[in-house]
Structure formats: structure tokens, C-alpha cells
Symmetry: C2
Subunit: 531 residues, 2 copies
């Protein structure tokens, strides 16, 4: 999952070109890593195809194979983690390209036809920087089989040991049954999970129960630049999605640490840039303090009008379009396994909102909007005692959108409210506000696709998965829904405490290995769905 919003880049290209890229470098000539044949990683040699297995025996045999290859799976993840494919830093663009090529070679080894699709350039500090190609693949074209389109990403967030990691972030390390490393759970582990599941079918001499299509990008953590354009304006017209029956994304996490879930909803996001200008340059607070209307005090005033201390959003009418809570939905929360005290402790928060009541916490993550104040661009941010009066500052805040909030409507409410508060301020300074938004996503969790995934999950974890939603946003979900017109499902591999994007990101060995089996079982179950 991404901290950044992709949003609908086609509509909102504003600012998309400078998303968190701090060091623009021209990309050096791309160098691919030496390809090591995948088979060498698996200790069990190929089964003779002559031995015809019944479908009932397929999965037990496959699970056994998976259990016998744990070390190989860990080693391959270690190899993937070692490529620092940090998409927000142009200095690592070459690593992103290497990562894409590495995965392309792996897909080829399991028999997929692959293509590297050029998605053009991004502009950073006025320079055009080539985007990493998107890896598109196809495996199987049996018209009698269902076809699943799998999405994943190969890029990662930045990480330095000095940020507070216990071991080098790009050197996967196992401690206490956990694999620590940047990208272990987000999203290299899950992406490799698909590869291993496919390979396991191949190795035990079984046909894949479905056809597969792959979309693996390497810019997800940086707004998925170029991807929407590729999906909607190239792959879709070219017919890439014509045969697709289902879409599956594994780029999120369990709700907690023990019970699996399947995710049928994500909040959207409406991200605001609130700019105040008081002077054409930064000013010395000794020289100018006491004589100018400071932009910072205007901005702090406006930012203070947005959200109450109990988390209630103060924007007029913001809750009006939120879908009403039905009795049926209300009951859903009762049975969900979620320990709010463990949740609180995991982040060492002093107290949770809503008195930490489970149902309220879940509803405020999933089905109610939330407003967060992220920071201020243009003001002092360094350690130490900088005494600047910033000439221009941009406050950043965002609202997580839920059904039935429409981004356009929410943006208008926010703009109207901020302009009203600004008029009340009677400041001579200049104010400007703009937004980038993407709508919330939900699917019907009763769809046969979800039932198939639930059966697969129960087979692996011996429990019915929670049908969950997530507070975050994965904008590509909506794009894939639009491009394919088919049911989209999020099938998480990792646990709720994996700390994606944070220090000591990890993937439990159990989640990795059982996740491979889960993916294999999911392919199997979807294969059984009526064509």
C-alpha cells in the first residue's frame, strides 16, 4: 500500500511530477543483474508428468512441496530485498529498473510471456527522468479456464539502518520467525508468493488451474506514475483485459496478527494543499517580526479550524453523504477479531479515539471519513533554532473518503469552508487551496470470487477469514476495476504488525510460506468457478 496517492492522474496531473523525489539524477545506463535459474532454488526435483494426479491430491502435494522449499523461498526474497528499488529517489531509478528486469526473468522462467511497457517520463526539478517500465505478463490462454489478473509492485519506500532499524534494511534477516527487510511484506514477499505458487504447480507436474495476467509496476510508492495511462489507454484498448475474469491484488495486511482476512473495501482520499503567501521571500524574524502579517500564523489558524480534538471533521456538511450505517452492517463488526489494546500498544499511543471501543475504531478506519494534518511545506523543518518568517507556506491535510462521498463534492465542501474561514480572518495575505482526490472502493464480499478466496483461506488457516475493509487507499484498485469491469479482491499475505513503510518492516515466515499455499489454493478455487 502506498502512502502516496496516485489518484486519477489523467484528470489531476497537478503536482504529480514532484512526488517526494528528493534527488534528481539522470538515470545511468541500465544494467541487468545476472539471472540465476529459478529451479536451482528448489530442492525437490520435478515430478514425472506421467503420474496423473487427481485434483483432490493436487493441493496436499503442492503444500508438501512448498514446505520442502522454505529455504529457497527465503533466499529468493533475500535476493529481491537486496535490490534497493526505492522509487521516490531518482538516484535509485537504476535499481528500480534492475528489479523489474529481475522479476521479468523470474516470470519467464515459470513460462510466462512478458513485456516491458514504457510509461514515459516524470519531471523532477525541471528534468525529465525516465520511469521504470511496467512488467506485463501472460501465462496460459486456455479458453476453458478462468483468467485472473494479478497486480503487485516491485518498488519500496526508502530505508536506512540509521532510521532505527535493528539490521540493514536491504539485507533480509531472520529473527524469531520473522523476515526483516524493506519490501519483505510490501510488496516483494507477496509478489514472490505468486511466483512460488505458480512454480509449485509446475514442479509437482500439475497444470495451472487458471490463466494468469500480470501487472507488476515499480512506482507504486511514488504515485504509480504512468500506470493509469497504461492500463486505461493502452492495455485496455489493446484487449489485455478482454479475457480477464477476476482481479487479485495482494498489497495489504491482515487486520491483526493471527486471523486472516479478505478485503472488500478501501477508503478514498482527498488531499489538500493550502497555501498562504505573505512576502516574496523568507524573512528574518528579528528584522521583520512585529511588522508583517505572517503567513504561518494565518496557516496555523486555518489548519486549526479543520478537525476537533475528538477527531470530528469540522468541514460543514462533510458527513452528509456518508452512507448510513445499516443494522446489517453494524452487526458485521461484532464478529470481527480485532484487539484494540494490541493495536494501541503496537504504536505506543497514549489513548485511542472513541474510547478504544472495537466497533467504533473499526468503523472510523473503514466507513467514516478521517482528517489528518500532515505538515507544512516552506516552513522551518530542520532540527535547531531557525528564526525564519517563511514567505510562503503550504499546509498539507487530507480526508480519507468513504462511500458515498464523491471527491468533487467533498472538495467543494472543503474549499467553501476554508474560504469562509479565510474571509473571517480578514488577512491581507494571499490564500490558495487545491486538491488531489481519488474515490473510495468497495466490492460485494458475497461474490463467488470472494467465496472462492474464503474457501482457499480456510483450507490454509482452518478458520473463516474476516471480510474486512481498509482505511488506506490503493488507487490502482479502482483503475483495475474500471479497466477490467470485473470483480476485484484484495488477498493479503502479511500480518497487521508488519510495519510496512516503517522501521523494521518484516514478513512472518509463517505468513510467507502459508501465503504461498494460500495463493496456490486461491488459484485452485478460482479455477473451479464456473467459466
Amino acid at each position: 500500500m502506498s502512502y502516496l496517492l496516485n489518484s486519477l492522474n489523467r484528470q489531476l496531473s497537478l503536482l504529480s511530477s514532484k512526488v517526494l523525489i528528493s534527488n534528481a539524477n539522470l538515470i545511468r545506463e541500465i544494467e541487468t543483474v545476472k539471472v540465476r535459474p529459478l529451479l536451482k532454488f528448489y530442492s525437490v526435483t520435478q515430478q514425472p508428468v506421467s503420474e496423473k494426479m487427481t485434483t483432490e491430491k493436487t493441493l496436499p502435494k503442492l503444500f508438501k512441496f512448498v514446505d520442502q522449499n522454505v529455504e529457497s523461498y527465503k533466499n529468493l526474497l533475500k535476493e529481491a530485498v537486496a535490490i534497493p528499488s526505492i522509487s521516490c529517489d531518482a538516484k535509485h531509478r537504476e535499481d528500480c529498473n534492475r528489479m523489474v528486469f529481475w522479476m521479468r526473468d523470474k516470470l519467464k522462467e515459470v513460462g510466462a510471456a512478458t513485456e516491458l511497457r514504457d510509461v514515459g517520463y516524470q519531471t523532477i526539478d525541471g528534468k525529465e527522468i525516465k520511469l521504470p517500465p511496467v512488467l506485463v505478463g501472460t501465462l496460459g490462454n486456455d479458453t476453458k479456464k478462468n483468467t485472473i489478473c494479478v497486480y503487485g509492485h516491485l518498488d519500496v519506500q526508502p530505508a536506512l539502518k540509521s532510521d532505527g532499524w535493528d539490521s540493514e534494511p536491504f539485507d533480509l534477516q531472520e529473527r524469531d520467525g520473522k523476515l526483516y527487510g524493506r519490501g519483505s511484506t510490501d510488496d516483494k514477499g507477496p509478489v514472490l508468493g505468486w511466483l512460488h505458487a505458480i512454480n509449485a504447480y509446475k514442479e509437482i507436474g500439475e497444470e495451472l488451474p487458471v490463466n494468469l495476467k500480470f501487472v507488476f509496476e515499480c512506482m507504486e510508492e511514488s504515485g504509480s506514475e504512468g500506470l493509469d495511462e497504461l492500463l486505461m489507454n493502452k492495455l485496455k484498448p489493446e484487449g489485455f483485459f478482454d479475457t480477464v475474469d477476476y482481479v487479485c491484488i495482494s498489497d495489504n495486511y491482515w487486520l491483526g496478527t493471527t486471523k486472516p482476512c479478505i478485503t472488500y473495501g478501501l477508503r478514498g482520499i482527498s488531499y489538500y494543499f493550502l497555501e498562504i503567501e505573505c512576502a516574496k521571500m523568507d524573512l528574518h524574524s528579528g528584522v521583520f517580526g512585529g511588522t508583517v502579517h505572517e503567513a504561518m500564523s494565518d496557516l496555523i489558524y486555518l489548519m486549526n479550524t479543520l478537525v476537533a480534538k475528538d477527531g470530528k471533521i469540522l468541514i460543514t456538511d462533510i458527513y452528509k453523504s456518508v452512507a448510513p450505517l445499516t443494522d446489517n452492517e453494524s452487526k458485521l463488526y461484532d464478529s470481527i477479531d480485532f484487539d484494540t489494546e494490541a493495536y494501541r500498544k503496537s504504536i505506543e499511543a497514549y489513548e485511542l479515539l472513541h474510547k478504544g471501543v472495537k466497533e467504533q475504531i473499526l468503523m472510523h478506519r473503514w466507513r467514516y471519513p478521517s482528517l489528518s494534518l500532515h505538515g507544512i511545506e516552506g516552513a522551518a523543518f530542520q532540527p535547531g533554532a531557525k528564526t525564519v518568517i517563511p514567505g510562503k507556506v503550504i499546509g498539507k491535510f487530507s480526508i480519507r473518503l468513504v462511500p458515498d462521498q464523491e471527491p468533487d463534492e467533498v472538495e467543494k465542501l472543503v474549499f467553501d469552508y476554508v474560504h469562509k474561514k479565510w474571509a473571517e480572518r480578514e488577512s491581507p495575505n494571499k490564500m490558495r487551496i487545491w486538491a488531489q482526490s481519488g474515490r473510495a472502493w468497495t466490492e460485494n464480499p458475497d461474490h463467488p470470487h470472494y467465496q472462492a478466496a474464503a474457501r482457499a483461506t480456510k483450507l490454509i488457516y482452518q478458520t473463516d477469514p474476516d471480510m474486512s475493509r481498509e482505511g488506506g487507499s490503493i488507487p490502482v484498485t479502482i483503475t483495475l476495476q474500471e479497466a477490467s469491469g470485473k470483480n476485484v479482491l484484495l488477498l493479503p499475505m502479511g500480518a497487521g504488525d508488519d510495519m510496512a513503510h516503517s522501521q523494521n518492516e518484516k514478513l512472518n515466515v509463517r505468513n510467507y510460506i502459508e501465503g504461498i499455499k494460500l495463493f496456490a489454493a486461491y488459484l485452485y478455487e478460482v479455477g473451479k468457478l464456473a467459466k
Copy 2:
């Protein structure tokens, strides 16, 4: 002048070690620049000493020499500006050392005895980084002459052409009678002004009318680390200040662009760090938004309680200890030459506070406290749409102190007020506030030292200088006052629109050249004061 406060490091070493140093590097071995003999820069050869000049003829002759050497002065400033002695960036520590050695060699060439005084280390990100040495010098020890201690600094603020400079900041360029370059006016031009004034006496074969002591540091823009300790606990006990009669600092600017001034007062500063913590790490706003008490909204709430939109400080009783405005002082402002509209235009502000009334603007720069909100550490500050919920944020604000505000008393008022507002907030989060402060400074502008400087100024600019104060803070002023026990005077060289610390910093050729003459005339006038 510094954006940073040095404050009384002896008392308040808190945080002093991490003032704005973003990239800690170990200092590489120091390399001195090749010394070019200073004399080569002056086109007029030395006068025969045999020709005895009357003192009345000294200054006209000296002024003529100065006018004949304009190109040499520009070239030497270009050479100094070319050394990027950026003190806040440890990567430039070697350049700071080079700059100190360069100036040491120049002082030696005019006959001064010099010493490089070690002031130890600073700690950056846990690493010990050697501070640049302080250059201490002595020229003359005639007990019949007065002795002036001159202070200046050799370091500069960071600058990149891409910040919006019209030419390379470290390549001094002349356009329209202005010398553009980082450090041109702050403070390399004034420091070289002393050198040129002394050299001019030497070149025309005249004895210096005073003895001189020099203190040139290279950490002024980064809190003058180590300097107070050196001045108070080493130089003072060693007797360095025993023979000093007067202290002169040229590190500020005229009030406007045409009329010279002498500065007898500076505001102090009380800088606050207001920390709120809601979680042990940064959180994903999608996952946690709506469930945690966000530190940012608490901080924004508190920062919004500090200052009203008309600039009035809202801290209870903060104005109580401000020295009352007497009729006499009130009248002083009437005659001061200050164009508020030009002041407003120079920063392209939309409107000034206090309706732009001259007397009010001056009083709020000089004699009333002001509160500025500088920024937030720990929050998103980058361009783009980062959707973080910061776990811990530190708001930065400061109050410029005036007579008779005592830092301890002001800090207590602020702490009490913030704690009161925090209690009203009823947040479960953790709040902490701490401060770094230095008191305001004023001298008696009727002192003979000031009269001597006024006579010198009138001789050069044919007008009585304004006796001005400044809104900013130069903490070393108070330290030098304490260390020497003598009258301290600020004698600016540059104009009010020189844009120190900002893009396109410049020094007018006129201010530079007439400033050299002013310094020479000042030495002459102080030389005439009764010993």
C-alpha cells in the same frame, strides 16, 4: 547577523549541538589556500615614510588611496566569497577552516600577531565534529593609544543558484553598482573593510591611530558554538580584554538604503521548542486516521493560541515588563529616516501591520516584543502528497525580547501559558516545551565612543547618522560587553536592502568603498578620544 541564536551557551547547552547541520561528515584534512600577498592588490606603491604628514592630511590622503584601489578591494572580496564557508553544513567544514586560514594570512600581512584558538567539537547525529578555530589577533600595543576590539564572522548561510539567485552565489558578480554574492554583506565585506582600512594607513605611511584586537569566528550563522566559552573562560582570564577600551562590531545594516546609522540596541530572543508525541512512530493516515489523537492537531491548536492576527502576543502578562515608552524616546522616532512603503515593497508584502505607520513599525521592530511561528520539525515538509500522521512533532516559535524583559521571566510566562492551554485541550498525548534565550542589548548612544563614530560617519556621508536599534539579535554583543566591560557599538557597512541570508545577497560598491573609509575614519576618531 545570525538567524540563529547563540544565547548563553554556558547556561543553555540544550540542543546547541544540532543547530541546522544537515549532513554530518567527518572533516577531511585541512588544506590551506595558496596565499597571495595582499600588497599586489593595491595599485599605489607605498609612500616614503620620510614625508611627515599632519593628521589633518591623513584622512584625505587615505581616502584618495582607497578610491584608487577599488578594483583590488572587489577582487579580494571575490576571493573571499569564492570560499563557501557554510557553517551549518559539516560538509563545508573544510571550507570554513580554509576561510579562517585565509583571513589569518591576510591579517598577518598587515602586521597583526594572530592565533588560531581551538574551541573543541560539536556533536552532530552522535558524531563529534571539530569546530573551525577562532581567529584572534592583535595589532599594536602602544599604551598611549586607545585599543578597539573588532568582531566579525567569516562563515555564511547556505546558498544555491537554484534557490533563485540570478548568478552563482559563490562567484561575486557586479551588476548596477552592486556586488552580488553570498557573504558579500554578511559579513565578509565588513571584515575585509577593516583589513583594507588598516592596510590603507600602512600604505600611505601613517601610523595606526589605535591598537586593535580582533575576534573573527566562523560559526556565527550556526549559533557561534564554542565562542562564548572562549571569550569568557579563556580570553578574558588570559587578559585579552584588559587593554580593550572599546568594542566595535560591523555585522548589521542601515535602516534604509540612503542614510547611515549607528546601532545602539538589539532585541534579544527566546526560542521555544514545543513537542507533542502521540505515538512512537509515524503512522499511515489511511490505517490509523480516525482512531488516534494526532499530535499535529494538538500542536496546531497550541500554536494557534500564541499570537493574534494583529501581531499581538497572547501570552498572559508578556507586555508587563516592557520598558514604558517615554516622551523623550517617542520623539526620537519622528526624525528617523525610514520609508515604510519602500520597506513593504522590498519584500512584496501585501500590507504591513500597524497600518504601516512609520513610528509604529519602528517601535515594533525595536522596542516591542514580537512572536513568530517558524515551523514544525517531524511533520511532512517535502513537496508532494505525503500522507503521514507524524508520531512526534516539534513546533518552533520565538519571541524577540526587548528591555526590560528578562529571559527567565519570559520563559516562565510562556511555559505557564502553554501548560494552561494544554490542560484546556484535555489531550491524552505527551507535551513538552523548552527554550533557549538571550537577553536584549542596549548601549547609551550619547557615549563618546558613539559620538566619535558619528563624527566619522558624517565625514564620509555628509549627514548625521540615525541612532538606530535593530529587531534582530547578535548574542556575541552581550558577551563582548560582559567580557570587556566596555562600550560596544555596531557600525554597519551595508544597506537595508542587502538581503543577507536571502537570495541575491549583495553589497553596494558605494557602501563597500565608503565603508572602508568609514572604518578608517572611525579608527582615527577613536584615536583622538582621551585615553
